[in-house]
Symmetry: C2
Subunit: 209 residues, 2 copies
Amino acid sequence: MKKKPEIEISASTEDKIKEAARVVFTRKGYAATRTRDIAEESGFNLALINYYFRSKEKLFDIIMLEHLQLFIHSIMGTVNDPGTSLQEKIEALVSHYIDMLVKNPNIPLFVLNEINADPQKLIEKIGVQGVNRKELVIAKQWRAFAAANKIAVNPVHMLMNVVALIIFPFVGSPVIRNRTGLSMEQFNALMEERKKLIPVWINAMMLSK
Amino acid sequence: MKKKPEIEISASTEDKIKEAARVVFTRKGYAATRTRDIAEESGFNLALINYYFRSKEKLFDIIMLEHLQLFIHSIMGTVNDPGTSLQEKIEALVSHYIDMLVKNPNIPLFVLNEINADPQKLIEKIGVQGVNRKELVIAKQWRAFAAANKIAVNPVHMLMNVVALIIFPFVGSPVIRNRTGLSMEQFNALMEERKKLIPVWINAMMLSK
DNA sequence: GTCTATATACGGATAGAC
DNA sequence: GTCTATCCGTATATAGAC
């Protein structure tokens, strides 16, 4: 495992190809990207892709795995932190994901797409199954909150709602921007607003009767 | 324009191919479906697809157009009905779309995907631009409601939220079902619950401070 | 390691028999 | 209208020169 500098002055050819692949795969999906597109984007020849990664599919698997880890990895620290309240955890998650998605707006659709294309394959690769979700700190805090406030709705609803409010705008971004006439900057400004709004909304939803 | 029977005892070959195409395109997306897949699904030979539809792309355009109309068409009546309140309109829309999505759970991801792949192309085809959205009855009712309750948030947020809460669970269905262990029937039961819950949530969100 | 040239496979589309 | 056989472009992958 080679150590990498924080700022890559000159990335290796392998990393350049991987970055190019990330860009193209994420924008067009697996089936619609050609190895030629990746080669062009990277500035190298198409033969090099196979030299480093053996095949288009293997390269894709690497990219996808990194995306999934980006989604899942960082979350674990916050949801299992005994030092923060439920409300604070929601705020942290919302803020963190919106930041990430503003930088990488194409990731959600890409990931959802490819999971849909082959649900088995990708689910095996994540392998976070080890964690017992019921015993996460956030789960305990939710149960306490639900009991204290006599909340009867299935927690799966609230989970879906949080994720929906965060992710959906990015998935629907082209439609939204077209129908509303918003520029990319204006759209991102709205997303910034949502960091504050979503936790408030979630709270209101949970307590609604 | 031939009139079709409500229940097709024996659909024409053309319609069978179209239905097969709908199934395969919707499941796999444009790039990943092969005309051979459609042929197999339809029970006919691949040559027939070109006989009836000239090309894969023309067939796709037809399917996509029908999907988009399914999304947009029925909505206009309800959002422009002067006889129902804002709350009633939201209830009607939520209920209607969830019914539709339970029957066609793959449509949202498919449509979002293809819009993302080529935003220009599809937006031109919808052509609902004629409608002045500001003058829809629902828009007036929203402004009245917002004024009466001193709501300051950008209405685009609320629009995104309604759509997100309805559509996202279907887009994320494979992940959700995998992480929660829900069967398809249990998932659909949750969606049924959401017909009542979402309008309540929306109301709570709008009035939250 | 990186390139050019090429083998090989696959997919969309068509010709032509029935 | 429907089929079988086939053409032809394109995409992945590899061989081999440098």
